[in-house]
């Protein structure tokens, strides 16, 4: 059992100070902006909920939000099952296992805009291997001109970039299952599906929760990769929330609306993380001691 000791605060103080400095101060600034109209350094007016009202009725936010949700759920639907399948197929021991781990982890350590660059090159129908292959299959493919192609490319790119994270999380979860469980299942005559359903999946619950949360929040914040790949186009078809926000704040310098936008954005992520967390805990309740 943990002991009660309020002096432990001293140990936490550095973290608190640091995170307060890089989170609370900026967040207060954002809150401040979101309720004021700013004309100059000393010229500002309190406008209350005006910016929130404006931004909630804004088409850009509504469409961006819709696109964002479609995108995040699409990649969760692809990456989670695919990641589990890859983890199940990975060799558990030996040299081949280390090699597979290294290869899988590689995309995770590439700077996000370079991921965009890689796919920008790879997907081009004139000089990119991927683009050339797809065109050779008889598809009229051009991610820079066709919204559907742009969407498909962004999705495939995200699957390429992040499925490994899900796979590695699941792999480490699978590694933690003692051999006796597989042996017992064999003795009980369990089918491969039953082994997955009753032995592996329950033990993956914790890592899957982490995987879903990380993939949801990171995909909801996606910025660099589509920005480099398509610049948000064609049209606004691949402009996700972060990019909309960056345009609003840094591009047009609409501080008030941008700040209101930021807070709404943040709250949506918090809300959904909480939803995922409680749902998954509910689903797996009692499966842990």
């Amino acid at each position: 059992m943990k002991t009660e000791n309020n002096r432990a605060w001293f140990l936490v103080l550095p973290v608190f100070a640091l995170v307060a400095f890089s989170a609370i101060v900026p967040l207060m600034t954002v809150v401040n902006y979101s309720v004021q109209d700013i004309f100059g350094p000393d010229d500002r007016v309190f406008v209350g909920a005006e910016w929130y009202r404006e931004i909630l009725q804004d088409d850009r936010l509504q469409q961006g939000l819709l696109r964002q949700f479609v995108f995040s759920f699409a990649i969760l639907l692809i990456e989670i099952p695919l990641g589990i399948a890859v983890a199940l197929a990975m060799p558990r021991r030996g040299r081949l296992a280390s090699l597979t781990l290294v290869v899988l982890a590689l995309p995770l350590l590439i700077p996000w805009n370079v991921v965009g660059t890689i796919w920008q090159i790879f997907g081009r129908a004139d000089i990119g291997l991927g683009g050339v292959l797809v065109t050779a299959l008889g598809v009229d493919y051009n991610y820079a001109a066709n919204p559907f192609d742009a969407w498909a490319t962004v999705l495939v790119m995200d699957v390429w970039h992040w499925t490994s994270l899900v796979a590695l999380l699941c792999f480490s979860g699978l590694k933690a299952i003692p051999d006796a469980y597989y042996q017992a299942a064999k003795i009980d005559g369990a089918s491969a599906w039953a082994v997955f359903r009753f032995v592996q999946l329950p033990k993956l619950k914790n890592v899957l929760l982490i995987a879903v949360l990380l993939r949801f929040m990171d995909s909801f914040m996606i910025y660099s990769e589509p920005f480099v790949l398509t610049g948000g186009g064609p049209g606004n078809s691949t402009t996700f929330l972060s990019q909309t926000l960056a345009r609003l704040a840094v591009g047009q310098f609409d501080l008030g609306p941008a700040a209101a936008f930021s807070l709404i954005y943040f709250l949506i992520i918090l809300l959904f993380c909480w939803l995922f967390y409680t749902t998954m805990m509910q689903l797996g309740r009692g499966s842990q001691q």
């Binding site: 600034t29 399948a85 996000w112």
Partner: protein, 265 residues
């Protein structure tokens, strides 16, 4: 071959193809890239790499990135270690709220903080310094570090602490000479994640720098010029951004499986 192994092979090929293409292009001349579609460089050249290694504005990008990534890893670890210890061993007023609040920062979109960060660091004169980027990245790396380390520390029995205190160790000496060595794999894993998330982030790093601390990822956007894209150099620069990550993975390859469980399986 069983179908599941086929899936793995297909997936690995899918992962490798774009990387191969990048590597392939980095050894080609621009004429070859644009002129003919070739599966491997016919006119093999190292010129693209030579451009990067001889131009300070290019290679300083790498140096800058490595400096702020290292700084961030050090800062994150040194503040997160005592805090994680406190969370794993004690209850105190507001501990749960604090822990949750820390984690919410991992969920904050960096885009939200762009402008406030820019103003904050400008006003205290840290704009365009390595430390500014390192501090900004603490926003998501410190909560993550606390969380990972807490998992590893909870795996160490509390009796170890008590025995050491009974044996007359002071807290600092116990923490540094007994406790830290026991969770060194956890520290390694945390450092790996700090490195990873700081290395791959661009949005904040680019916003907080202009010249002196400009990260390589931002320098790369330079290749678009009036004369068109310099594809070869862009590809070479891309390859070089993958190298540090690949090296780090190679060193921690035997801990990856345990590391990704974050000490919590």
């Amino acid at each position: 071959m069983k179908p599941r192994h086929l899936l793995l092979v297909v997936y690995v090929v899918f992962l490798m193809l774009p990387l191969y293409w990048l590597l392939n292009m980095s050894f080609k001349t621009n004429e070859e890239i644009l002129g003919a579609f070739t599966l491997f460089p016919h006119d093999f050249t190292l010129d693209n790499y030579r451009v990067i290694f001889t131009d300070a504005s290019w290679y300083m990008g790498y140096v800058n990135s490595i400096i702020y990534v290292t700084l961030n890893t050090l800062i994150s670890l040194s503040v997160a270690l005592p805090a994680a210890y406190a969370f794993s061993r004690y209850t105190f007023v507001g501990d749960k709220h604090l822990f949750f609040w820390l984690l919410t920062n991992r969920m904050a979109p960096p885009a939200v903080f762009l402008l406030p960060f820019f103003q904050l660091y400008s006003s205290i004169g840290l704009f365009d310094t390595h430390i500014a980027v390192a501090l900004a990245h603490c926003l998501f790396n410190v909560p993550l570090s606390v969380w990972i380390l807490e998992g590893f520390m909870s795996g160490v029995p509390k009796e170890i602490d008590e025995t050491a205190f009974v044996d007359g160790y002071g807290f600092t000496r116990f923490f540094l000479t007994i406790f830290l060595p026991m969770i060194r794999s956890g520290i390694g894993v945390t450092a790996f994640f700090c490195f990873m998330f700081s290395w791959v982030e661009l949005l904040l790093a680019r916003t907080l720098t202009s010249v002196n601390a400009k990260p390589i990822a931002a320098v790369m956007t330079r290749t678009v010029s009036a004369s068109g894209m310099d594809w070869g150099v862009l590809a070479a620069a891309g390859v070089l951004t993958i190298v540090p990550g690949a090296l780090v993975i190679w060193f921690v390859r035997n801990h990856i499986a345990k590391g990704f469980a974050l000490g919590r399986v």
